[in-house]
């Protein structure tokens, strides 16, 4: 996409909005075309597809990505009468459907992640999620009070997924202006119906996985979901589970909409460390389960194994059982080959055990393939020392040898780190890089966070360094979380970009490809969309002494009282000459003197 980037002065921003909108518009059209053509002739109004992509990573790890699609040709949004039109649910989970209809949700994206996707070593993920929990929702324009609906929705989701989403309040909710566009079909993109929140401190565990699995039509009884065993899934370097709900076109003409629920789960197994030095893997070794039967409700059930590297490494490994089919497609700007196992095919299962256990065996002890560096990645860190000030630094890499592209950066910083936007510096190759669009919403104490959105042009083969200084606030003693010296998390910054592709991208969405490519479909063959998240930051704040409230209240009041007392004395009394009346001691002394016969004092 040729986005016109104009380097201009900071004032007169409205002029430079255009590139941001263009980028956004591109995403929109991409989304609208989404799954338009996937209408198979099916008697039921809903259908379910599942797939798993296994990808050996350059670092010796293995990434497994599950994707479960439920599509339902029904209208979920609430009618004017206030009563939902739909009461019969088949494949689409009722709990989620009711939530969507009650709160007039147009799009819902929720993810829980444990660990961080190491883009440097692992390459480009299908879809990255930030550490902790992330939730962003587009509401229908019929919602009158978005904030109330958002508050209630987060609480309902909190119960539905057994997660601390109820900690989402105005202090961590923002309304991004450009970074998050609807992924489904859209009529309106007024961003006042959008809410975004991230909880980087959220820990993902079994109690979040169980409700997530319950949303699947087959539960964890059959199909690929059999492999989702909590004790194995959480014994990994990276675990991410997500739920995406969006409206999509029902047919090519897009006269009516369908609802699409996408549940995805990605894990990275550190096989090399746990597999006693061998890189051999099998489904059983990873998940301690094998596949026995397909989910009878699924219209498609597929396993893809990424064998792109196999060609490079001169056939040093083989898959067992051998793949019946091979698929070549383009993912993230590079062509990839997949071995495809269609689980609906009964010949795939071994006759002896009635199960399928895909395994990879090495023929030679293998030399490592250097991980190919992603074209676009970013990292972020805090610099500075002490607890007074600091600086957030973001490094954005464009490794494309010849093409530059713009990137939308969104930064959410909690209010207790007071950002100074005049200290914002953006440098590329030693020169200042003026963003062509800046949206900055300063924080309000205990009310809302800082939101900074910028559109920055990344020149070819460059590193862009962004720095912004902040000041650490001292909070009230009750505002610190337990273990305050652990620090405070700052959620990942979000970078969205249309990255130039090396090979022409597939724009025809009817061609078979892993379902993962469907969430951000491509409308332009020369670019592909990437949304990436940087590391969450951990920042220490100065702390008061938590054991001291009574002492502090007493001591400060004493000082005030010293002031009050001395002024009171001086204001209300006058000077007087006191006659030496003699105190008690003097009287006793005089009495003794009298007894002794000496003159009194």
């Amino acid at each position: 996409m040729a986005v016109p980037i104009v380097i201009g002065p900071g004032r007169g921003l409205r002029l430079w909005l255009a590139p941001g909108l263009l980028l956004a518009a591109c995403l929109l059209t991409a989304g609208a075309r989404a799954v338009a053509a996937r209408a198979e002739q099916c008697p039921q109004r809903d259908r379910f597809q599942e797939e798993m992509v296994l990808k050996p990573l350059g670092s010796g790890d293995l990434a497994a990505s599950f994707q479960f699609h439920t599509r339902w040709d029904a209208e979920l949004s609430q009618r004017d009468g206030g009563k939902s039109k739909v009461s019969h649910y088949r494949l689409f989970p009722k709990s989620l459907g009711q939530v969507i209809s009650k709160f007039s949700v147009r799009e819902l994206h929720l993810s829980f992640t444990h660990g961080f996707w190491r883009r440097g070593g692992w390459g480009q993920p299908f879809q990255q999620t930030p550490p902790g929990a992330e939730l962003w929702v587009w509401f229908q324009p019929s919602v009158s009070c978005v904030d109330t609906a958002w508050k209630e929705l987060t609480n309902v989701l909190s119960g539905l997924f057994c997660a601390s989403l109820n900690f989402i309040d105005s202090t961590n909710t923002v309304t991004p202006t450009a970074s998050f566009k609807p992924l489904g079909i859209i009529n309106e993109t007024d961003h006042k119906y959008l809410r975004y929140a991230a909880l980087p401190r959220e820990i993902v565990c079994t109690e979040n996985l169980t409700p997530w699995k319950k949303l699947l039509p087959c539960g964890s009884k059959a199909g690929l979901a059999v492999l989702l065993k909590a004790e194995r899934l959480f014994h990994t370097s990276y675990h991410s589970q997500a739920v995406h709900v969006r409206p999509v076109c029902r047919d090519q003409l897009c006269t009516s909409t369908s609802w699409e629920l996408t549940q995805s789960l990605s894990v990275v197994f550190d096989l090399y460390a746990s597999g006693s030095g061998k890189r051999e893997w099998s489904l059983f070794k990873m998940f301690s389960r094998t596949l026995t039967e397909v989910c009878p409700l699924a219209s498609q059930s597929t396993i893809y194994v990424d064998i792109t590297d196999k060609d490079k490494a001169n056939d040093t490994y083989e898959l067992m059982p051998p793949a019946p089919m091979r698929l070549n497609t383009t993912v993230h700007g590079r062509s990839r080959s997949y071995a495809v196992y269609n689980l609906l095919n009964p010949n795939l299962y071994s006759i002896s055990s009635q199960s399928l256990n895909i395994a990879l065996k090495w023929k030679l002890s293998k030399q490592f393939v250097l991980p190919e560096e992603p074209v676009f990645h970013a990292e972020r860190y805090v610099s500075g020392f002490g607890l007074q000030t600091g600086k957030i630094n973001t490094l954005i890499y464009n490794n494309h040898p010849s093409r530059s592209f713009p990137v939308l950066l969104m930064e959410i910083v909690p209010w207790y780190l007071r950002l100074y936007v005049h200290t914002l510096t953006i440098n590329t190759k030693g020169k200042e890089n003026k963003p062509s669009y800046i949206h900055y919403q300063p924080a309000k104490d205990r009310e809302r966070p800082h939101l900074l959105e910028m559109l920055i042009q990344l020149p070819a083969n460059s590193i862009t360094k962004i720095g912004i200084e902040f000041e650490r606030a001292l909070l009230k003693w009750t505002e610190y979380p337990p273990d305050p010296n652990h620090g405070f998390y700052v959620s990942s910054s979000v970078l969205s970009a249309l990255v130039p592709s090396y090979v022409p991208m597939e724009t025809n969405s009817t061609k078979p490809a892993p379902l993962f490519t469907r969430l951000f479909p491509c409308s332009d063959s020369s670019v592909y969309f990437v949304r990436l998240y940087t590391e969450a930051l951990l920042v220490n704040l100065p702390t008061p002494d938590f054991s001291m409230p009574y002492n502090v209240i007493c001591l400060t009041c004493t000082v005030i009282a010293v002031g009050y007392g001395s002024f009171y004395n001086l204001l209300t009394r006058t000077f007087q000459v006191v006659e030496p009346s003699g105190g008690l001691a003097k009287r006793i002394a005089n009495a003794i003197r009298k007894l002794r016969g000496v003159a009194p004092i």
């Binding site: 900071g10 004032r11 921003l13 020392f385 002490g386 607890l387 007074q388 000030t389 209010w415 007071r418 950002l419 100074y420 936007v421 005049h422 800046i438 900055y440 919403q441 300063p442 924080a443 309000k444 104490d445 205990r446 800082h450 000041e471 606030a473 001292l474 909070l475 009230k476 003693w477 009750t478 100065p542 702390t543 008061p544 002494d545 001291m548 409230p549 502090v552 209240i553 001591l555 400060t556 000082v559 005030i560 010293v562 002031g563 009050y564 001395s566 002024f567 004395n569 001086l570 204001l571 209300t572 009394r573 006058t574 000077f575 007087q576 000459v577 006191v578 006659e579 030496p580």
Partner: protein, 435 residues
């Protein structure tokens, strides 16, 4: 005298200019003792750049200056150092003239009292002489110009220096007897930092006495005078508020400045008593204690105006000091302002009871502020209590200093009337107490 003043100004400006150019300037401008969230230069720059971005500076919680400051520095941002040095020079010159003028008034009053034989016969050593008073204006100017506190405030470009200048001009106008200019600058000072509204009382008393209106609640002329001054003051305040409204076409600056001063939401450490108290406060008592602490600042005004109605200048000094001690975001700049008045009361020296202890307290705690801050924030070997303890010591020192001067002042007044060498009935030196 004028030559010495010019010399002092040159020295002071040189010191400031050198510090501005040194690497210390940045270090000083980050010191929490010198700048508070209300007046830090970094926040002024932030407010201006927010304005450049098309965001209202008051939409966030970083900028708490008044719109006047925005528009002043919108044009003068490149000459900020020059502005701050000029402002300090103005303050010093204004205080110089105040001291000079006040001396004349004191001398006249003293002669009048002598003629009316109001003084006791043996108080000749208490009487102020022109020789002693001659150097006071210069000392006042020097106390402001070369006080490390005001030098630091200027180098940090804290807008507290501007507030000080406005208050100094207000005092000057009051001493000169110009009620209208005094009301204008009092309104400006109030507009800038709210607390100077308490200076209304001493200014009214001073102006009334200057115009020979008897300060008496049974006297109609006093009420008329009071109303006149109050209307002028409120009118100016209203005009400045409305001007700010028209500059920004929104009232959002009111909660951001005055609301911020009164409700104390920012607990950044400073030299005052508020920050740690409200950081450690139980939430449901917070409102109560905020009210108590804020009322405390204005609480002394009425009794002081009764007690010191014949000494409005001293009342002014005490009131400025009380504001500096008990305000919600004090900085050393506020301390520097009332310390500049101290030479005017140098004749009270013989009645000060614990000036040595207090001086030691103030000096040592000023030195310990940065040390304990470093230990807490950077070294991590101390905690917040250490810094808090020093703020307590510093404030106790200030309270003792002010009450000592207050004590000395009324003691001198007592001796002037009753005689210096009082004898008790048995012929010994009398024992005098406050009763």
């Amino acid at each position: 005298m004028a030559a010495s003043l010019v010399l002092a100004l040159v020295v002071a400006v040189t010191v400031r200019a050198v510090l501005f150019r040194s690497s210390l300037a940045e270090f000083i401008s980050e010191r929490v003792e010198v700048v508070s969230p209300l007046n830090s230069w970094k926040r002024v720059v932030e407010g201006l750049s927010l304005l450049d971005l098309g965001v209202s500076p008051y939409s966030g919680n970083v900028f708490h200056e008044t719109p006047l400051i925005i528009y002043l520095f919108h044009f003068l941002i490149d000459y900020a150092e020059f502005v701050f040095m000029t402002v300090d020079v103005i303050t010093a010159v204004a205080l110089y003239i105040v001291a000079d003028d006040y001396n004349k008034v004191v001398f006249r009053k003293q002669r009048h009292s002598f003629e009316c034989q109001r003084y006791a016969p043996d108080v000749i050593t208490l009487v102020r002489t022109p020789k002693e008073m001659y150097h006071i204006p210069l000392k006042v100017a020097l106390f402001y110009l070369l006080n490390p506190f005001s030098v630091l405030t200027c180098v940090a470009k804290s807008t507290c220096a501007i507030n000080n200048a406005i208050i100094a001009i207000f005092v000057l106008a009051t001493v000169k007897g110009s009620a209208f200019i005094s009301a204008i600058f009092l309104a400006l000072a109030t507009y800038q930092s709210l607390y100077p509204i308490a200076l209304f009382a001493p200014a009214l008393l001073y102006l009334a006495q200057k115009d020979h209106v008897s300060v008496n609640l049974h006297c109609g002329a006093f009420y008329v005078y009071f109303l006149k001054y109050a209307v002028m003051f409120l009118g100016c305040l209203l005009v400045s508020l409305c001007l700010s409204f028209f500059l920004l076409s929104s009232w959002s600056f009111v909660p951001s400045t005055y609301g911020f001063i009164l409700s104390v939401p920012d607990l950044t450490p400073n030299i005052g008593l508020f920050w740690y108290f409200f950081a450690e406060m139980f939430e449901h008592f917070r409102l109560f204690f905020v009210c108590v602490f804020q009322i405390n600042v204005f609480f002394y005004t009425l009794p002081l105006s009764v007690r010191l109605r014949d000494h409005p200048m001293f009342f002014m000094f005490i009131q400025i000091a009380i504001i500096a001690i008990f305000k919600s975001y004090p900085t050393v700049g506020d301390v520097a302002l009332y310390m500049a008045f101290l030479p005017m009361w140098s004749h009270l020296y013989r009645f000060l009871r614990n000036i040595f202890v207090v001086t030691c307290m103030l000096i040592s705690s000023s030195v310990l502020f940065p040390v304990l801050w470093h230990l807490w924030i950077y070294a991590g070997s101390a905690n917040s209590n250490f810094y808090y303890a020093i703020t307590l010591a510093f404030n106790v020192g200030q309270i003792l200093l002010i009450s000592d001067y207050f004590y000395a002042y009324i003691r001198r007044e007592y001796h002037l009337v009753t005689g210096l060498h009082l004898k008790s009935k048995d012929g010994k030196e009398a024992h005098i107490v406050l009763k």
